[in-house]
Symmetry: D4
Subunit: 227 residues, 8 copies
Amino acid sequence: MKDLDFATIDYDRKKRCGVSEVIYGAGKTADQISTIAAELLKNGEKTVLVTRMNEEKAKTVLRDMTALNVAADYDPISEACVIGEYKEASGIGKIAIVTAGTSDQKVAKEAAMTAKAFGNEVIEINDVGVAGLHRLMNRIDEIREASVVIAIAGMEGALASVIGGLVKAPVIAVPTSVGYGANFEGLSALLSMINSCASGVSVVNIDNGFGAAYQASLINHICEQEQ
Amino acid sequence: MKDLDFATIDYDRKKRCGVSEVIYGAGKTADQISTIAAELLKNGEKTVLVTRMNEEKAKTVLRDMTALNVAADYDPISEACVIGEYKEASGIGKIAIVTAGTSDQKVAKEAAMTAKAFGNEVIEINDVGVAGLHRLMNRIDEIREASVVIAIAGMEGALASVIGGLVKAPVIAVPTSVGYGANFEGLSALLSMINSCASGVSVVNIDNGFGAAYQASLINHICEQEQ
Amino acid sequence: MKDLDFATIDYDRKKRCGVSEVIYGAGKTADQISTIAAELLKNGEKTVLVTRMNEEKAKTVLRDMTALNVAADYDPISEACVIGEYKEASGIGKIAIVTAGTSDQKVAKEAAMTAKAFGNEVIEINDVGVAGLHRLMNRIDEIREASVVIAIAGMEGALASVIGGLVKAPVIAVPTSVGYGANFEGLSALLSMINSCASGVSVVNIDNGFGAAYQASLINHICEQEQ
Amino acid sequence: MKDLDFATIDYDRKKRCGVSEVIYGAGKTADQISTIAAELLKNGEKTVLVTRMNEEKAKTVLRDMTALNVAADYDPISEACVIGEYKEASGIGKIAIVTAGTSDQKVAKEAAMTAKAFGNEVIEINDVGVAGLHRLMNRIDEIREASVVIAIAGMEGALASVIGGLVKAPVIAVPTSVGYGANFEGLSALLSMINSCASGVSVVNIDNGFGAAYQASLINHICEQEQ
Amino acid sequence: MKDLDFATIDYDRKKRCGVSEVIYGAGKTADQISTIAAELLKNGEKTVLVTRMNEEKAKTVLRDMTALNVAADYDPISEACVIGEYKEASGIGKIAIVTAGTSDQKVAKEAAMTAKAFGNEVIEINDVGVAGLHRLMNRIDEIREASVVIAIAGMEGALASVIGGLVKAPVIAVPTSVGYGANFEGLSALLSMINSCASGVSVVNIDNGFGAAYQASLINHICEQEQ
Amino acid sequence: MKDLDFATIDYDRKKRCGVSEVIYGAGKTADQISTIAAELLKNGEKTVLVTRMNEEKAKTVLRDMTALNVAADYDPISEACVIGEYKEASGIGKIAIVTAGTSDQKVAKEAAMTAKAFGNEVIEINDVGVAGLHRLMNRIDEIREASVVIAIAGMEGALASVIGGLVKAPVIAVPTSVGYGANFEGLSALLSMINSCASGVSVVNIDNGFGAAYQASLINHICEQEQ
Amino acid sequence: MKDLDFATIDYDRKKRCGVSEVIYGAGKTADQISTIAAELLKNGEKTVLVTRMNEEKAKTVLRDMTALNVAADYDPISEACVIGEYKEASGIGKIAIVTAGTSDQKVAKEAAMTAKAFGNEVIEINDVGVAGLHRLMNRIDEIREASVVIAIAGMEGALASVIGGLVKAPVIAVPTSVGYGANFEGLSALLSMINSCASGVSVVNIDNGFGAAYQASLINHICEQEQ
Amino acid sequence: MKDLDFATIDYDRKKRCGVSEVIYGAGKTADQISTIAAELLKNGEKTVLVTRMNEEKAKTVLRDMTALNVAADYDPISEACVIGEYKEASGIGKIAIVTAGTSDQKVAKEAAMTAKAFGNEVIEINDVGVAGLHRLMNRIDEIREASVVIAIAGMEGALASVIGGLVKAPVIAVPTSVGYGANFEGLSALLSMINSCASGVSVVNIDNGFGAAYQASLINHICEQEQ
């Protein structure tokens, strides 16, 4: 553990939690992000994930990483960045990331970057919201192949319940703030998913693609945990 | 219009709105209900619908109606009562009343009593919530035959969106207070249905089976309106 | 059904739901909108409705449509756009679109564009909120001529209840986010309309002029549905 | 000012606020109510109003007052009680108490008891909710005669806005907890009334018939205040 | 009544409600405001109040009024504007406008402009919030001289209750959106004022200085109403 | 699939979802529960779980099962019942069920009954809320042995975040309605858990011990799923 | 630390937190309460506080304590009980417990029992709500003598702000659920107090008299802490 | 007390409340801030604290103070400013200011500026949120040395409960608006902290670092108060 002026870096996290520290970019400056990333890399970390880093900060951080001769893959849609190398895909099976609509893409990309960074094979299935059920049914066999499913939807969030009733895998639901009017920034989807009539569904915070993929990855690597 | 001490009866309502006054039983005594019903019948009304009348009040009202030699059909599940005669079924087609779960039955029965009282043929389809999608798909052809669909669901209320994407008929959604925890007495289902990603869905108040059937009946008789 | 990279186009929707796919512009780029529209037109669709497309995106899309030699009518107030041709007006009767105040105009225009695109004759009646009841009473005969009424109001949303008690037609209420203070972005009007004391009123999402007109059109063409 | 063990009686209130202390019965025992009432009477007060006193407590209090040879008029519907004598009616004009439905009666009665106790002539007009506008229009001339109007309504509370647009008098709106579903114990009516599009409307707490009548009485006696 | 394209002007309002139409500027263009104002003036109105008109719109409207040779007094703090002449002060007494803090000034100014426009003498007392009670007590005699009191406060809104217990006049409370954190845009002050433990307090919408002054003016001129 | 009058039994659920249908007892009569259970058993099901069945209903159901010569284990604290036989414990490892306080016991027992019914070994660790951190630290090694952790807490629900930072296993958080005041029936714990600063935490509905254990069981048997 | 079946007793709490464990009676049976109390006493604890223990449970617990020859003082209003001996009063000064109304008594008594149990001298001042400010001003000198003030109020909770501006001592505010309508079980008072315009005010949970007194006692004994 | 046009300066506040007036900069212009500060200094005040003054205003105020030859220390992170001199540190002990994450820094700095301005020694401990418990445990001995602890956290706010169970000092919790999704601008942390299962925790408004430090300072100087 190292106590920078502005942050307390947690080097034991990997041992304790199985995954090393992730940098939440929203409340930090580009310099702070680069410093923490460099510290983690110096400490032997191979993969550092940064989330919610806007493009302006990303420019600085990418330049800093280049200076350190470290690879960095930034996705401007999700504003997530993988510094260092992606872990090789392993785990029980694949993680399916399923969205209800085109507008849920930002959250889905954050989930995909996270899942891949942590060594998971990902299937991305977009725009299969329940108002056009056949679109979902056309892809359901692919979804059934996954060992964990992440269901991402805004508005009424019904996707989680419908998928929950169609697959054996655990479903992690991500409500998104997509919509307008009485969706109240994602509250309608959150309540809907928390009240899901399907069993086997649990929920993470609104727009929290990272959190869903993090837990999906834990589950997908659960057998390794036991060794 | 007649001004009883406690109520102002609206005899012109039928001419104005196409349907005569309905008695909301919850805030009235049995005596008040009987008096209003008798006034409406005396004024030439053939069918008087009473909603939300508990069994204790119903006993008194049924006895009063028997004394007046008037038929009265009380349904203890929905606490609705049709005094006088059911209108003969007419209209463009049938009204499908579809519920997500067994526990939505009370609301469904109120809708069915209302729809029948106002002269509609009714199809009742129960327990086809989206967590077991094939149950819904097994009945979807029946639902598609209806000219108006009433979708009744608690919890996350996803049924309305799924049906909305499968039929041509207008869908009237009724959120129910069924569920527990973060459903907040039906709020989750209400928000879910109001945010439905399917077009062609509109929503009435929580547990308002009467209101849904009332509007469904207006729609089902819309061609008569024009004559 | 065609699977673009970012969207899954639903060509069967017309057969299934009676109306072809509508493009919700808010979460899409101008290019995505143009691509989907072009796909739908290529597939035989005559009328493509785009909603919530801001003026900047509209410029690009209009230019793209001109290049394809396709007409496109964009309304900057509602940010709705009809690509291709308006369907010829048909249906049981007219759809009345009634607003409480001048500020509800944006929502009313979206409803009007939608209703006309789908082949309905529209009556627009503005600024007849209940605080000046005689303004409403002066126009009530026109409203009564409609087969479906769309009541649009912000603030306390009382318009829906008052109209609901004056007409035989089904009323679809649209709460708007117009107002300030304790209207909480339209929540007060939504709750007010959902709790309407008038029967025959159902509600769509806040500011959802499109949704109201879509359902009104379904109802207005309900007899065709049966053929 | 006298400091009983459980309460601090405020004898100067009349001089300071123009009206003597009112006893809120809900949080007090029958004995406490009787003791405070007796203290106020002993101190020269002619009229003591008790609100929210249930029938069980009322029995004891009425018996206590009889023992003191003091008149007491208890209304079981509103659970209000006037101990001593009603003030003689005075003031600028009448107070109109208008309700939307039969179920708002409890609140209306509390308002009427209060207004009469404080020396106001009262007009009671019931069951004229906006879903049957002609019922209201039939009585509007009576309402226009009042110098202050109290508008009482549950559900969507539209009555206040409609009356606000029809009269010159100030309107005090009382939302009631009447209704079900998304009325959330009166919240929908409260928000509706606070957002009234009519000017000249102010609002008191849900079910607070007393508070509305208290302020109406202040207004009705406003000229005396100046003397 | 005149039906402009975008608005329905209500010339009878003065006869019906005692006050002529007020123009709510927020949802209208400068041109619409000028047109409505000109129409009202042409129709014989001497005083036209415009509220919520930002400075940009005001420039145009003031120029338009100059062109019509009509006076116009615009207050940039409250964004209110009196077109034509202020009514001469009359009524039973004065209206006291009392604020808790400097930041409530915008709302207080809107109230003052409104009260003056409608012919009331105004006392303005600022920054006497309850956290420094002696500031309020130093001014209480002035406040007691008023026939109506408008109490304006954000944060916890306690000012209304404290004043309510100190004066005989009716108190109209205006919650403001001033504050941060858990004030939720004025909700805390609104709830606080609606729950006031002082009798004689009623409440208008958050930040609605106009509404409070409008009703205060009605009350202050209540004796004229009777003539 | 069999269509009883009141319910549509879903025999394929096991094949589709890996677990057979569970009977939610709250909205059903004892007779309905017995009938559905008997149908499932007749169809070859070995283990039938019933949740939320109060003691009165349980008496009847237990008697009915005895008559059928079927074992039934009812737990009056959680009101859960296992009809038939518990599945033999299998899966990757153990499920730890951890509660913050004695009052969370009801929910914990529902989770334990569910996990055992579906073939999982369970560790129960009670009353280790974060206000006495050492109580938790004393048991943390046991918790770390589990392959999935269920964290159950009311009030501020901090337990989930603290455990989330201490273990490698996925954590499923269950907010409970335990507490008073501003916990709003579990809402505070729900929001707290959804906003958990620890990664690897997902959430189910308030008091939903069943749902948490169901998903934990899916995860614990995830390797079998792949075979 | 001792691990009973249902609870984990925390003997070190006194050393760690300065105060020994308190038993929250609401979620426990009488037997559990007696067992925990006996364990604590056996372990050398002199004073055991039990809160929220209803009269029925109290009977059993008092009988059990008598059997153990231990004193127990139960207060039926607050449902608090001090088992063993009250600590002798010490600390910097007195704790003033001030209520707005008679109905806040239950919470005030819980605070008083707690403060006395933990060795504080208490001043109780009741029924001095801000609607009758002189009642508060008559007692303010007594309040100013205290080293810590607990301000207890329901409805709009203004008492905390007013006292906060009148004293040098820290003020701990307790919102109560007293009131009706839009107080939403104490939410209005909670928001009001959290938004207090007076500095030096902090807030505990609704109705949490215990929590306020606990912290007041910590503050009152803060100098001992240092020794 | 001096009545500027826009503000009523409260010179007696120091005598009455022990601390002189603090200037809340958010609702005031730079000129108003400078004027009030100058007045207070002229009146003999040595230390004037200004909070929530953005950098633009600060430039003007700092220039004005330089012109008056008065020191002014502005912190751009917290937007707080100490004009004049910091009081010399005194009091019972130190105030510990503890944050959960880097993003809570703004609030922590406001607290630190306030505590130092009022004469307290401060320990700042950052980024020790409960998801990495060992970070907190590494610093707990430092925290235990403080006489008062301020716990600052967003998201689920668990830090307050955990610290509350580990220290003898009173804990003042500050919820922050840090987070996203269902944190609703700090509401989740506020509810979490208000429902804290740890005793000895009270709460101030969201992001109110000033209020927490103000009360902490009162407590830290409580013995002086008695002299």
